[in-house]
């Protein structure tokens, strides 16, 4: 459903949302470009009439006032070095418990309950295990069409999926809903306000996964008791 219709359906005035993109390392600019294609603008340049703005998050306090956060691809071990300092990881965990988060590849690894191959710390908010580099090294990276798992998108064109030294979701808990698969394996999942992909929608022209995340943010804001921290 297009964004405008969704706002109408939820009977909410379409107030601007503010997104964060974790910008410690990785392809955070690719996510920013996707958001720009969807009409969002950098926070400093976003007019009030725009559907929303985004900012790069490099410190724990940058999370203040955000409606949602994107955790990009990159090297999860590098990002962890920053998160393990000055209580950043704990702040992020609290944020992810309260507000929508969307992780791609390394970002999904950070969100997982458990990480294997090798083991490493994580936020522990997404009820599944992520196996790192599960398909091999760079020469095993690939681009392919996946398939939507939900009834709603069954007839929509299949998403193009870019897998780069990609991880694999394993042992998903009952609260984890599979939204898309590749060769039967879950590659895009949702659990409440959390969205995670083992591939990189930000490296394609297809904005549908990001649109899905924006809808999650708008519906989280529309829920009673979930008023925006900026309001």
């Amino acid at each position: 459903m297009p964004l405008a219709d969704q706002a109408e359906a939820s009977n909410q005035p379409q107030s601007a949302i503010l997104l964060g993109i974790l910008a410690l390392q990785g392809d955070y600019e690719a996510h920013a470009r996707t958001l720009e294609r969807l009409g969002l603008r950098p926070e400093s340049a976003a007019p009030a009439a725009a559907p929303g703005g985004w900012r790069f998050v490099r410190h724990a306090e940058d999370l203040d006032g955000l409606d949602g956060l994107i955790l990009p691809g990159g090297e999860s071990t590098t990002m962890l070095k920053f998160l393990e300092q000055a209580g950043f990881l704990e702040r992020l965990r609290q944020f992810a418990a309260a507000r929508p988060c969307f992780g791609t590849c390394a970002g999904a690894i950070l969100m997982a309950r458990q990480v294997s191959h090798p083991q490493q710390p994580s936020l522990g908010v997404l009820e599944l295990t992520v196996e790192r580099n599960a398909y091999g090294r760079q020469i095993d990276s690939f681009i392919d069409r996946g398939e939507w798992a939900g009834a709603q998108e069954k007839d929509a064109p299949p998403p193009e999926m870019v897998f780069i030294r990609a991880p694999r979701f394993r042992d998903a808990g009952p609260t984890v809903e599979v939204l898309a698969r590749w060769h039967g394996e879950p590659v895009l999942v949702r659990q409440g306000k959390l969205l995670a992909a083992t591939f990189h929608p930000e490296l394609t022209e297809d904005t549908r996964v990001h649109e899905m995340f924006l809808r999650m943010i708008r519906s989280a804001r529309a829920q009673p008791g979930e008023s925006s921290p900026r309001a």
């Binding site: 390392q25 392809d27 070095k81 091999g136 020469i139 870019v162 030294r165």
Partner: protein
Amino acid sequence: MENEFRLKTGLAEMLKGGVIMDVTDADQARIAEEAGAAAVMALERVPADIRREGGVARMASIRKIRQIMEAVSIPVMAKCRIGHFAEARILEALGVDYIDESEVLTPADEVHHVDKHDFKVPFVCGARNLGEALRRITEGAAMIRTKGEAGTGDIVHAVRHMRAIVSEMKQLTVMAPEELFARAKELQAPYELVRMVAREGKLPVPNFSAGGIATPADAALVMQLGAEAVFVGSGIFKSEDPGVRARAIVRATTHFRDAQVLLECCEDLGEPMRGIDAAGLKPEEQLQTRGW
């Protein structure tokens, strides 16, 4: 863009905002990963030692690269000699994540670079100016880095090369179409690529910096000049306390515009590599002039 090339530049996208560190054994690789390196470059000797010891510098020993690949979970790159497509094939078969066709090693071909389109593994190549960068991209490089002057710890050439590339790209964006044809001829680069850069104002592949980065401030400098990530060679493991320095450079690369954080990065670093004043190098001692 064809899918294979998208995958090659895709991994470079994942390395952005990060530090790629030269390592010569598994222990150094673990120190680098622990410090937050986004990738490591496996080689036999760091450029400072190649410079000092002389001799032919070749692809690193397979055993050593394999040990490094087994030691860390981050991407592992390795260098092949300019034009040495047989070394490149061997590194591809080994499964390294990126190949650096590097002027730091002794060139194997005085005319030709490797046809990098013919490989599944992505390549990074050095460049001193826009023409050189575009020629490497034409040959299939999926990432460009400044050459700088490796093994000196002197940032001046990396700065010169990054400024040259950025400034030459800016000039293209204001040129008339007929000027672009003439400029392509001067740059010795294909017109199609020149036109693409004129339109986008940036290279069609990620643009990183290398060659002389030795301090957190050096990393912040090249990032502010337009680098999207940094390679650090001798600067880390030729310094007094590699672990501390590696962490500080990683942090400075992320927070490259935040002077307060940069200040913290520079506290208690220990001694940097001693380095060589690059201006004192004779032309034949320069590594950057290798490559055509």
